[in-house]
Subunit: 551 residues, 2 copies
Amino acid sequence: MTDRSLRVAVAQIDTTVGDFSGNSEKIVAFGRRAEKEGSDLVLFPELAVSGYPPKDLLDRRSFLAESDRTVARIARASGSAVWLFGAPVENRAKSGRPVFNAAVAARAGRRVGEYHKRLLPTYDVFDEGRHFEPGRGRPLVLRVKGMRVGITICEDIWNDKTFWKRPLYTVDPVAELAPLDLDLHANISASPYTLGKERLRRRMMGQIARRTRVPLVSCNLVGGNDGLVFDGLSKAFDGSGRVVGRSRSFEEDFWTIDLPGGRGPMPPEESEVAGLRKALVLSLADYAAKCGFFEAVLGLSGGIDSAITAALAAEALGSQKVLGVAMPGPYSSKGSLRDARELAKRLGIRFAEIPIGPVFEAYRRALSPAFGKGDCVPAEENLQARIRGALLMALSNRFGYLVLSTGNKSEIAVGYCTLYGDMAGGYALISDIPKTLVYELAAEINREREKIPAVILAKEPSAELRPNQRDTDSLPPYSELDPLIEALVDLSLPTDAAARRAKVSPEVARDVARRVDRNEYKRRQMPPGPKVTAKAFGEGRRYPIAQRFGV
Amino acid sequence: MTDRSLRVAVAQIDTTVGDFSGNSEKIVAFGRRAEKEGSDLVLFPELAVSGYPPKDLLDRRSFLAESDRTVARIARASGSAVWLFGAPVENRAKSGRPVFNAAVAARAGRRVGEYHKRLLPTYDVFDEGRHFEPGRGRPLVLRVKGMRVGITICEDIWNDKTFWKRPLYTVDPVAELAPLDLDLHANISASPYTLGKERLRRRMMGQIARRTRVPLVSCNLVGGNDGLVFDGLSKAFDGSGRVVGRSRSFEEDFWTIDLPGGRGPMPPEESEVAGLRKALVLSLADYAAKCGFFEAVLGLSGGIDSAITAALAAEALGSQKVLGVAMPGPYSSKGSLRDARELAKRLGIRFAEIPIGPVFEAYRRALSPAFGKGDCVPAEENLQARIRGALLMALSNRFGYLVLSTGNKSEIAVGYCTLYGDMAGGYALISDIPKTLVYELAAEINREREKIPAVILAKEPSAELRPNQRDTDSLPPYSELDPLIEALVDLSLPTDAAARRAKVSPEVARDVARRVDRNEYKRRQMPPGPKVTAKAFGEGRRYPIAQRFGV
């Protein structure tokens, strides 16, 4: 189409929601660097100015006003290159929602273009239809150095009829750009990480580039924000759909590429489980930093869940910033305390031991008149977990630690966990990791060196809340439970189809489905944790508590 | 326009989400009754077949299949009248979301019409844009006995350009119906209660009837579903916009009216605070019944919050189904225990006393090595609250009680409450009631008879977690705090405007605003409770936890 080319810079930054001054400093710094390196166009992530997702902060007029001021300040700082960055922008029409999810283009100190996102994801963890008015105008084609750059924002390119079986939207911005004789697709995004998603993105974007024969560059957000973690992995494709440049995953990154024809950096690809580990580490590091925590505390039971949580916390915050607390109870095995201590030693984290026996006895005495005779076992099991939760919270209140809860997705799905007990905490780091994946993650953590003692990986899972208790006393083996949860929760399959898929009996599937539904009340009160699967409990899965659907 | 008239029946029913058999039994029973009473048209609420809101249950294909079967079964039961009822209906188009929020019309055993809701509320507590594809067809005009009935669903009539300053949607179904020579507007809805909303609805619907000179009848849902309570108050308006028939509030109701010209029942109106009381009672009664609870437990501190919660619980569940537990601690005043006991006696609820001193001492001993020297006061205050939470949860685990938490909106807004302590529970009955309104509610409860001892109403608010503590030690007086919270939370005003509105200093407003933002993490883990104000914490207010916006 042309033998000229554009130098495009990709500034994959980690933004903080509401931190207009911090975010804009990053944008200006990278914008200037891009200009110094001779770039014609520099891309920043979606909503880079406000952070993503700003959620109901968008209801505050002062938030929009601050965004406007910041956009103006950034635009004034722009020079020889076109800076393209995301920001919430007021909708001045007489009807419709009051805000657009916009891409603002600035050059030579002034705004030179504005595009409003048309496809607003409103499913799973996304609430964009709640906050934004969809853009209705023509596609935006920016002229940069005489070349035609078609602008889109994230979801805008996720509705290709030739790629998806059933497009969710009736319009397709990419199809509308097709006849406009583009030289480049520029997409800015805030596309969160989930396991396996990167392959999908690459195929999907590659197909757009190939089908339209136009190079595509996409700048994605990186960083953790509450329950979402963004992996970055910004990419450039040539007009044949091949990846010709890629950012590093899970960290800020900056690079330039000449399009068409040039090549950007191509950092080595990592395994899925290595990516998962980075996702968890970054989500915790960012949650702590953005909330103002420097140290974390967690209970060490001697089991695998708390072991990997401690190992990941040590990577995220530094070992000396993590305190592991063993809280042996009347039914804890001797091995548990020993294993917890050994784990702390190998990880180099701080360690404390607080036996719960005397508190448990005091509770039993206090409750005995009200309890009377009869089965007190479930109540007393939960009590032990709640004492541990209260001890960790007391340490948090005393020293300002962030409490990490250690429950995995399998337990949380079926309610094999205690509200205000092991579910207590500020961040539930592995709450979206099924137990079978917990083992894979442990193996990955131990790849370089046996950080987690082998004995912890080998022992049979137990809550140790009554004598000789084992998880399999109340649950199917995790090798059956995890595929079943995936079928029921991630895929919303009916129980009979879920049973077939997970290769379990229909009775087991019905029992597990019932438990999943009946424990919604516990999950409603669970702390946030990073989404890493297709369907995480929490904001992305909104279920009624009072309901009677049984199938 | 015509001198004929239609007999319209309004079946204001209380549905349960996912209870297809129970909901359809009600629909069929009232449909038959309407036919027996000579009705031509009978209206049921929005999504009456599935219950409202079904939320992500709509993602399950089995849920939609069950809805389809149930719709067919109901249609087969219809006879001489047109039955108009709400149901989720599959979208068979090749793109778009897979479900419509539909109104199905049936008569003489078969379906005679289907309308798809066009305006899908996607704000506050509503997520309809997440679940439904908006209807795109023409307005539906049903022929009933030769008369022309225009069908709309709830929000469809809430976008009148002549009524709202800034319409949220760019289309207006009522305007599209205007030229179609209607004899009647029939609207089915699931419009939740909030304080003062009924006046707005009446003005809004009255204006539509008057402006179009067409009578309007609207059948609204009644009942509690998790955090929402629907007040019913279905209404008929004549062509001059006057109310000519109205259902009772907060209960199932059935009546008929001949339109135009006839009159329906007009139960006496109630005061706002009397309506609020009913809202709370119904929300709790339904939450318990729909979740399978028969009994409730709560802590009685001797203060006003737990007193009104206990009084309302006794009305909702029956006094003998409520257990009040006094849990005196080291800093409880003597009066507190005495007042709690007296309250239980006057309400006729069960009463138990469990002192927390020994458990508190056991915790202190357990924590003392880790705590070391320094300020342990905040940690120990929270510990007392958490012991109480754990005791109530133990009683719940032992006896199957629903735990009621007793925090009010003012406390929850500024985080003057303990996570896993007084915030623990299954239902937070007064979590959307500001403290000043708590007093009005207490006066209403005491109107017939002094159920709540006057001494409880007279005492100064205190958490009693340290010697001589008073709420005003850490908070502005509630007479200032509550208007400030309304300005900041309900109206999303900037702090300076909030300060002016609430007549407090900018410093106080900034401090309170900061507290509201910083305590989002606590509210994220709070149990559901009924929304009664314009903006309740919980699902209707979605804020990031990790964020740095400061204004």
